[in-house]
């Protein structure tokens, strides 16, 4: 008599400790081996794009906070730059410097969450709390400046909501100074740990051509060995004034583009962000941060697409203006959403435990996927 066998369908999420929000994964398993993964999205859909059509241009800014809620500053920055280019206004130097510093601090904070939760996914809980203690310092700096810890609404069209706190420069310098040894600590505790390397190297390899075909951006693309960073390749704000490198994945422990590379690339990027902050923090010119904020934003008819390098990847805003106070259409190219598409490709043939590893290494935020 033949034994009847069938694949087990395991429903992972939306309530699951490590799906990073409300992602639901439908896994087809043969024992522990994964045959197919179907991500189900939409549990966090809030009609962001439709909402924007009923809002005036400045009113959209708080909504952008809520997309990638771990990188609100960067989202604000992207939107502000897009509308400014549509309006064709000049931004004061002071504002540009503060924006860059904020965006880089935000990048570090976002990467810290990514690395920390990645450690938890693999079973190392301690690095998570070490990193969150550091992230707390960034959040304190943000809180002092704009009063909020997560959703800042800080970078406005044409300027900033507040000038920086008098302590800002000192505290940022302190943070930069204290943070460097922390990176070494993280590397010793987690990055080079034998078990961690065994778990992540050669897992979920994303070859460069596949990455390009799927439109992967950000750290995930660079981990596959492609030097593509909008801060260098399509500079916005004042990024062309700073010296920094674009780290790429080298496959130090396994193949280029594996989970370890994606993890380690974020560590390297934090170092580069520190470098940018160090160059910018002493050169903030004086001025009024709200001098260029328009009283009434009414762009001419037309459309524009602008992209910025977010911690998660390339964040693009496509805005159509019909000449009224409200945007006719706001379309967002969300990096997490695009990066998520390659997930099934990466997971096939791995074990259940590796699904978590790969998901963590892609670093998605569901607020941004569903918008």
């Amino acid at each position: 008599m033949a034994i009847k066998t069938e694949e087990m369908v395991l429903n992972m999420g939306p309530q699951h400790p490590s799906t990073h929000g409300v992602l639901r994964l439908e896994l087809e398993l043969e024992g522990e081996l994964v045959l197919n993964v179907i991500p189900h999205l939409g549990y966090l859909h809030r009609c962001f794009e439709k909402h924007c059509e009923a809002m005036t241009y400045p009113q959209v800014v708080p909504y952008t906070d809520r997309m990638d809620y771990l990188a609100s500053m960067s989202n604000n920055l992207g939107y502000a730059i897009t509308v400014e280019r549509l309006l064709g206004i000049e931004i004061p130097e002071r504002v540009e410097y503060i924006r860059v510093i904020m965006a880089e601090l935000q990048r570090i904070a976002s990467h810290m969450v990514a690395l920390g939760t990645y450690g938890v996914d693999i079973g190392a809980f301690t690095p998570f709390l070490f990193l969150f203690a550091e992230r707390e310092k960034i959040l304190t700096i943000f809180e002092e400046t704009c009063g909020a810890r997560l959703l800042y609404n800080y970078i406005w069209v044409g300027g900033l909501s507040h000038d920086i706190h008098p302590d800002f420069v000192r505290k940022t310098k302190d943070f930069v100074r204290d943070f460097k040894p922390r990176i070494t600590e993280l590397n010793n505790l987690l990055s080079y740990n034998k078990i961690f390397v065994e778990r992540t190297a050669n897992i979920g390899i994303l070859p460069a051509d596949v990455a390009i075909n799927y439109g992967i951006t950000g750290p995930n693309l660079r981990a596959s060995g492609i030097k593509w960073d909008l801060r260098k390749n399509d500079p916005y704000s004042i990024y062309d004034r700073f010296e920094f490198d674009i780290p790429v994945g080298e496959g130090l422990y396994g193949t280029t583009g594996d989970s370890w590379d994606r993890y380690y690339l974020r560590v390297l990027e934090m170092e580069q962000s520190i470098k940018i902050i160090e160059q910018a923090i002493d050169n903030i010119p004086d001025g009024d941060v709200q001098s260029a904020v328009p009283k009434r934003i009414k762009p001419p008819k037309g459309s524009i697409y602008t992209r910025v390098e977010n911690p998660k990847g390339e964040l693009g805003y496509f805005i159509i203006s019909d000449g009224s106070l409200n945007p006719f259409r706001v379309k967002v190219r969300a990096p997490s959403f695009v990066n998520m598409e390659v997930f099934n490709e990466l997971c096939k043939g791995h074990f259940v435990a590796d699904i978590i590893t790969i998901l963590g290494s892609i670093d998605v935020v569901l607020g941004e996927i569903d918008r």
Partner: protein, 356 residues
């Protein structure tokens, strides 16, 4: 102990029950309460946190409060579970881990049952845990529980082999399965401990030291895997399987699994202590003997036994909060490709050394 109780209460059966229940109530339950708190405190301080601070001084009553809360909880059970198996599983796991303490000599006086197959009994009874885990995982009728239980069973059964081989090595040296006898052989000072070659004479002792160190490392790793602790906590892998085989459990039944885990940690630590670190014997001699106060000696022995065991529990906690988790196939690789061949090699070499 048993004879003493028979004399005291004058009844065999009553004495038997008291002897069986004493370690449980005097030591293991307070220990489990303490260990859960200790784990939280150890992890907290390793992570720059404070841990529980509100219940009592520095949160020492936190576990008591937790247990009280868990007792009050509704006895939840999903409708599709296999009722009798589901209800029985936690008790089987609990029983398996607590029954192992019966043969452990806490001191030369305080031992539940000094049977001649103590070591064998210990290995056998702690395997009951596997049955309990499989029952719990299967009867929950939950895919996560099933995956966790399957992982757990394959893991525990695999890692019992290196444990058993190392235990066999020790039996070859000591010539006894009685844990009391094994402890008593390593008496007097710490250079008589088995980790330092035991009481063998001359050159054989020095030849044994590296082999014993190897055997100790193997048994420590494999017992770590047997009690499902990080880096081998794959059955419970929180980030993958929610809570593994006890995903569906809540309230007191959950607490049973939880307490059993900590009791298990202690049991295997005690086993290592007895086999390698002189059991209840003091490394330096006894204050009671020096002062001529004889009743002090068993108390000192108990102190040494408990502290040696707790040190290993502490090391287990320390590892848990430092290391990430292995994957299932890597776990099996560690066992079958490294631990088992090495342990068999050690067994052979020890056999040669004892011939000298």
């Amino acid at each position: 102990m048993y004879d003493f109780l028979v004399n005291l209460v004058g009844n065999n059966i009553v004495a038997f029950f008291i002897a069986a229940a004493l370690p449980l109530f005097l030591f293991i339950l307070p220990y489990a309460l303490l260990a859960v708190l200790a784990e939280r405190k150890v992890s907290a301080h390793m992570q720059d946190r404070l841990g529980p601070m509100r219940t009592g001084y520095h949160g020492i009553l936190q576990t008591v409060a937790d247990i009280l809360k868990l007792i009050q909880k509704e006895d939840l059970r999903a409708s599709s579970t296999d009722k009798s198996l589901f209800n029985f599983a936690p008790y089987l796991v609990f029983m398996g881990s607590f029954a192992a303490f019966a043969v452990l000599p806490f001191s030369s006086f305080f031992i539940g049952s000094s049977i001649d197959v103590g070591l064998f009994y210990f290995l056998a009874i702690s395997s009951l845990v596997v049955a309990g885990i499989l029952m719990g995982g299967w009867s929950s009728n939950n895919k996560y529980s099933l995956l966790g239980a399957m992982r757990s069973v394959s893991q525990i059964i695999s890692y019992e082999i290196p444990t058993a081989v190392v235990v066999l090595t020790m039996v070859m040296i000591t010539g006894s399965l009685n844990l009391h006898t094994i402890s008593d052989q390593q008496t007097a000072f710490f250079w008589n401990w088995n980790i330092l070659g035991g009481t063998l004479p001359g050159i054989a002792k020095f030849l044994l030291i590296p082999l014993m160190l190897g055997a100790f490392i193997i048994i420590f790793i494999s017992t770590l895997a047997e009690v499902n602790r990080t880096p081998f906590d794959i059955p419970e892998a929180e980030s993958e399987l929610v809570a593994g085989f006890f995903t569906e459990y809540s309230g007191m039944r959950f607490a049973m699994f939880f307490l059993a885990e900590y009791a298990n940690m202690l049991a295997v630590s005690f086993l290592i202590t007895i086999l390698f670190f002189g059991g209840y014997h003091s490394p330096l001699g006894y204050l009671g003997n020096t002062l001529g106060v004889e009743w002090l000696v068993p108390i000192e022995q108990f102190f040494w036994f408990a502290s040696k065991g707790l040190i290993f529990v502490l090391i287990q906690m320390w590892l848990r909060w430092t290391l990430p988790r292995l994957r299932v196939d890597q776990l099996m690789t560690v066992c079958w490709k490294y631990l088992i061949p090495y342990s068999i090699a050690i067994l052979l070499l020890v056999g040669l050394v004892t011939l000298i």
